[in-house]
C-alpha cells in the first residue's frame, strides 16, 4: 500500500515541451512538498502546500506551477522545459504542526530533457 505515490517514474522529453508530474498521498497528511534533486544529489525545496494553500514558494522559475486540487494531491506542471530542468523530482508529505516534522517521500520522478 504505497503511502506517497508519484507518476510517472521516468519522463524523457524534448526541450520546449510541457510536462506534468502527479503526486498522491494516502496518509491523511495536511502538508505536501515538491523537492528537486540534482545530479550531485543536492535536494532543494521548491513548493509546499497545506490543505490546498501554498505556504512555501522558493525561488523557482515561473515555468513551474504546482496545483493542489485537494489535500491528498499535489501536481507539478512544467512549461517550456529546459536542459537544466533535468533532475529527480520528489513529492513528500507530512502532518502540519507549525514546524516541519517527519517527511514521507515518494519514489521520485526522473525527468530527462533532451
Amino acid at each position: 500500500d504505497t503511502a506517497v505515490s508519484q507518476t510517472p517514474k521516468y519522463l524523457v522529453t524534448q526541450m520546449g515541451n510541457d510536462k506534468s508530474i502527479k503526486c498522491e498521498q494516502n496518509l491523511g497528511h495536511d502538508t505536501m512538498y515538491w523537492y528537486k534533486q540534482d545530479s550531485k544529489k543536492f535536494l532543494k525545496i521548491m513548493f509546499s502546500y497545506n490543505n490546498k494553500e501554498l505556504i512555501i514558494n522558493e525561488t523557482v522559475p515561473n515555468r513551474f506551477s504546482p496545483k493542489s486540487p485537494d489535500k491528498a494531491h499535489l501536481n507539478l506542471h512544467i512549461n517550456s522545459l529546459e536542459l537544466g530542468d533535468s533532475a529527480v523530482y520528489f513529492c513528500a508529505s507530512s502532518y502540519r504542526t507549525g514546524v516541519a516534522g517527519e517527511l514521507f517521500f515518494g519514489e521520485g520522478s526522473r525527468l530527462t530533457v533532451l
Binding site: 544529489k41 543536492f42 532543494k44 525545496i45 512555501i56 520528489f90 514546524v99 516541519a100 517527511l103
Partner: protein
Amino acid sequence: SQQGEEDPQALSIQEGENATMNCSYKTSINNLQWYRQNSGRGLVHLILIRSNEREKHSGRLRVTLDTSKKSSSLLITASRAADTASYFCATVMQSEKLVFGKGTKLTVNP
C-alpha cells in the same frame, strides 16, 4: 540556501564496523532530522532530534546534537551491507521548511 553540510562526503567500511557521519549547520534550529536514500529510491526518515535534546537512539542508530557547536552526528553500529545508501541531515528552523545537506554516501562492503 543550504544549511546542513555532511562530512565525510563518502565513507567505505567493512560489514560489522561502525559508521559515523557528521552534519554541521549555520543557524539556530528547531529540530534536525536524518534520512536515508537507497540508490534510485526516495528518502526514508530515520530519526528526529529536537534542539533541546542531546542524544537519541533508534535500533542500531545513535544521533547526537551539539547546539553550541551547531553539529550533529549519526552513528550506525555493527553495519550491514544493507546499510549501503546515502545519508542526509536536514534542519528545520522556525518554519515548515526542511533544508537538506549534500549527503554522505556510505558503502558497507560484505
